[in-house]
Every structure is written in structure tokens, then in C-alpha cells.
Amino acid sequence: MSLLMIVVLCGCETVQPWERGILAKEEMQWQTNAAEAQLRNQIYASKEASSGGAGASGGGCGCN
């Protein structure tokens, strides 16, 4: 994966700070609704054998 990452990063163009307006749009964020995303991930983690990946895993609950 690190090889893929290097290849991809080299393909990036220089985007100046004032050209980052689109990237700052709400619909371009990693999560567009944090509360819903949190619940969704909690449900998936309790019904599947996998969890995590997008940050350190938070606290546990009796659901899994």
C-alpha cells in the first residue's frame, strides 16, 4: 500500500490555499453528518466482526 500511496501522492498538483474553497465545502468532508456516522459505525461494528479504520476506536459497549 505504501507504494501505491507514493505513486498517488506524486500525481498531485499544487493547490494554493485560495484554491481550496471547493475542498472546504461541507459535502467534501470525510463525514458529512458526524452523529449519523457514529451511530452507523457502531451498528456495523456490533453486527460484523470488523471495526475501526477511520481513527482510533473509541469506547466499548456491550453490543459486541
Binding site: M1, L23, S50, A54, G55, A56, G58, C61
Partner: protein
């Protein structure tokens, strides 16, 4: 159309790079504290389909349902800090698979716990975050309390931007200390009181690919230690530690013509219980006139069974579980989010359908009769004090 060309001229380049150090051009990506206080409330319903008669002893029966209320408050404090408070209340009721037995025809069927489970969970989470020139750092404490389970967790995370602001390096560590105290009732439990610790580290790199695209990679390692067996499932015996790896990547691309953003996320997961999984999430955030936004999304998940998963226990194994969550299966889910902003208010609805099947997975294994399908609905209201 008059459009500025590339800054190739040395004088222009010198002026531009000197100008960009001024505060007006330090475009806020993620390192400015929130400008205004935000308040959010959400109600969600999680509702599992009934288990089919052919998959359960004693005929079809209702499964689990959860009502969830969430509260969120985020406020700027001083110039460079923010605080957040998140509270969630869950009300759970229904039945879940107790154990799997062999029917007269030879096919495995589940025995449900009976509609005996009734529990509530309260989770309180506080975060404080500091924003500095080139990043931010936060610390979070989360407390979760149920009749039969309590958890205390602390997480620290930080993000650091490269000088040109094109690359962001992030890292997080978390530790959780959980106590399991199963409710003694109609079914015998696998423990009377047990502990489990979860420690996790995560590293991520986010990169601006173009004016319209962002890319992210992440790698996490989680170590679970303690009583990892399900306390309520008949004869569940799992190892007392688990080492998990997850590698993830995400991509965001904005399309001007349709005024929409494409979200693609992928995760690879692997652990020392022999579970391996792939998850793909795709969403299309479509802006509509009058500040409406509709977001259809699909998700595909497939996992390999844990090395000690069997529907029917064979004598002599150290570890055993017939928990459907450790079986090989594939899951498709799809849904829709709808959002409308008006003034300082934002309202959103969402619905999701989740369906599982052993044959949808890329891994072969014994099909568990306990696989779950569910619906999830939510309604949220947010307000910004500006």
C-alpha cells in the same frame, strides 16, 4: 473568459508566495476552531427483521430493536479552543440468538433468547480541542453505562499540516477499560463479572490531490485483551486476546456541473482470529436548489469466518463460537440521506436497509442461520448560533 494563468514568472511567483503568508490567505481547512456554537439533536430507530421460521427453533420471532436519541454541542472557547459534549441514550429490547442447534433435517437453526432482553445505555462523551497554526489536537473522554456493561475510554488525537498545507498527518491513540456484569435472568451467562481492555492506535495521511479532490490513507492497530466471549451466547468460548489491523483509504471528488460530491471509502481488516474483511462505501452528495441535498449511498461488506466459528460444536476444541457475527457472509446496504438548510437551521432524514447472505461474500464458509437484516431510520435537527 479572463482566467489567471500559471504563476511561472519569477516576480509574480515571489509576490504570490510572499502574499500567501498573510492571514487572509490562510484558508481554513480544519485548523480553525469552530466559529459558532453548534447544537444538534437526533432520533434514530434500529429495527431488525424477524427471524424466519425455517431458521429458528420454535418458529419465527422478533429480533432486536433500538431507539437512539443523540445530543451534540460544539462550542468555541477563547481563540484557539473548542469543547464538545455528546450524549446518547439507547433503549434496546427484543431477542437475539442464544445458540445454534441441529434440526431434525440436519440444517442448523438458532434458538432465540426469548424476548427477555431489555436494557438502556447512556453514553457521555466530552472532547476538548486545541487549534494551532498548522493543525489541531484533541482529548476525549467517553463513559458508557448499561445494566450489564460499563466502559471508560480516553482518546488523544492530533493533526499536523505540511508547510504547503497539501498534506495532513494525523494520529490517534485510545484506551478503553470495560467491565462486563451480565444480567442474571432466564438464561445462564458465561461469566458473572469480567473485564476487557481495548487499546488502539491509528495513523492517517490526507492529501489534497487537486482543487476538487482529496485522498486519505489510514492504518490502525487494535489490541483487545480480557473477556472477549459473548456473555449471553450458549457455550461461547473465545480467545482472551485479539489483535486487529485495519487499512483504509478514502477519496472525495467534487463535480461542478452536477454540483455534487462523490465519496468512496474502502477498508481492509485482518485479525489473529482469522477474520479478514473488505468494506466499500460509496456515496453521492447531490446538491439541489433551495439548499436541499440528497445523498444516496451503498455499502458492501464481506468477511471470512473466525477460525473457531462452527454452527454445531464439535468436542475437543479450545475455542468455539456459533455467533453469526463471526461467520463468513456478505452484506449489502443502501440508503438515502436528505438534508435541508434554512437560515441557521439544518434538518435531515435518513433511511438505510441492510441485508446479509452467506452467498454474497467472497469467502466460503458455513452459513449461519442467525444472519441479520435490518432497517435504520433517523431524523436530526441542527442549529448554529450565528
Amino acid at each position: 473568459m479572463a482566467r489567471p494563468k500559471d504563476d511561472r514568472n519569477a516576480s509574480l511567483l515571489a509576490l504570490t508566495s510572499s502574499a500567501l503568508l498573510l492571514p487572509a490567505y490562510q484558508c481554513a481547512q480544519a485548523d480553525a476552531p469552530p466559529e459558532f456554537t453548534e447544537l444538534g439533536m437526533r432520533y434514530s430507530k434500529y429495527d431488525e427483521d424477524d427471524i424466519l421460521a425455517r431458521k429458528a427453533f420454535g418458529g419465527g420471532s422478533e429480533r432486536y430493536e433500538i431507539d437512539v436519541a443523540q445530543f451534540h454541542l460544539l462550542a468555541p472557547v477563547a481563540d484557539q479552543w473548542s469543547v464538545a459534549l455528546d450524549v446518547a441514550w439507547e433503549d434496546m429490547s427484543g431477542a437475539s440468538p442464544w445458540f445454534v442447534g441441529e434440526s431434525a433435517s440436519g440444517s442448523p437453526k438458532v434458538i432465540m433468547s426469548g424476548a427477555s432482553i431489555e436494557d438502556t445505555r447512556t453514553e457521555v462523551s466530552g472532547t476538548t480541542r486545541y487549534y494551532y497554526d498548522r493543525g489541531n489536537a484533541g482529548i476525549n473522554y467517553t463513559y458508557s453505562d448499561e445494566d450489564d456493561y460499563t466502559s471508560h475510554a480516553v482518546a488523544v488525537d492530533g493533526a499536523f499540516n505540511s508547510e504547503d498545507g497539501l498534506t495532513t498527518y494525523s494520529a490517534a491513540v485510545s484506551t478503553s477499560h470495560d467491565n462486563i456484569d451480565p444480567t442474571q435472568g432466564s438464561i445462564p451467562t458465561n461469566t458473572l463479572n469480567a473485564r476487557k481492555d481495548i487499546n488502539s492506535v491509528w495513523m492517517g495521511v490526507t492529501r489534497i490531490v487537486s482543487k476538487r479532490a482529496l485522498l486519505r490513507f489510514g492504518l490502525s492497530y487494535t489490541y483487545r485483551d480480557g473477556f472477549l466471549t459473548d456473555p449471553y451466547k450458549g457455550d461461547d468460548r473465545r480467545p482472551d486476546e485479539r489483535k486487529e489491523w485495519a487499512a483504509s483509504t478514502g477519496y472525495r471528488h467534487f463535480f461542478e456541473a452536477p454540483n455534487a460530491a462523490l465519496h468512496v471509502d474502502y477498508r481492509y481488516f485482518n485479525d489473529d482470529w482469522d477474520v479478514e474483511s473488505h468494506t466499500v462505501d460509496v456515496a453521492w452528495e447531490q446538491n439541489l436548489p433551495q439548499n436541499f441535498r440528497v445523498t444516496p449511498f451503498i455499502r458492501y461488506y464481506t468477511q471470512q469466518e473466525a477460525e473457531f466459528f462452527y454452527n454445531i460444536e464439535e468436542p475437543g476444541y479450545e475455542h468455539f463460537s456459533d455467533d453469526y457475527r463471526l461467520s463468513a457472509f456478505g452484506a449489502f446496504s443502501y440508503g438515502l440521506r436528505l438534508r435541508h438548510d434554512f437560515g441557521n437551521w439544518s434538518v435531515n432524514f435518513d433511511a438505510e436497509r441492510y441485508k446479509t447472505d452467506e452467498s454474497w461474500g467472497i469467502y466460503s464458509g458455513e452459513e449461519s442461520p442467525g444472519l441479520v437484516d435490518f432497517w435504520r431510520y433517523g431524523f436530526g435537527l441542527d442549529y448554529i448560533f450565528r
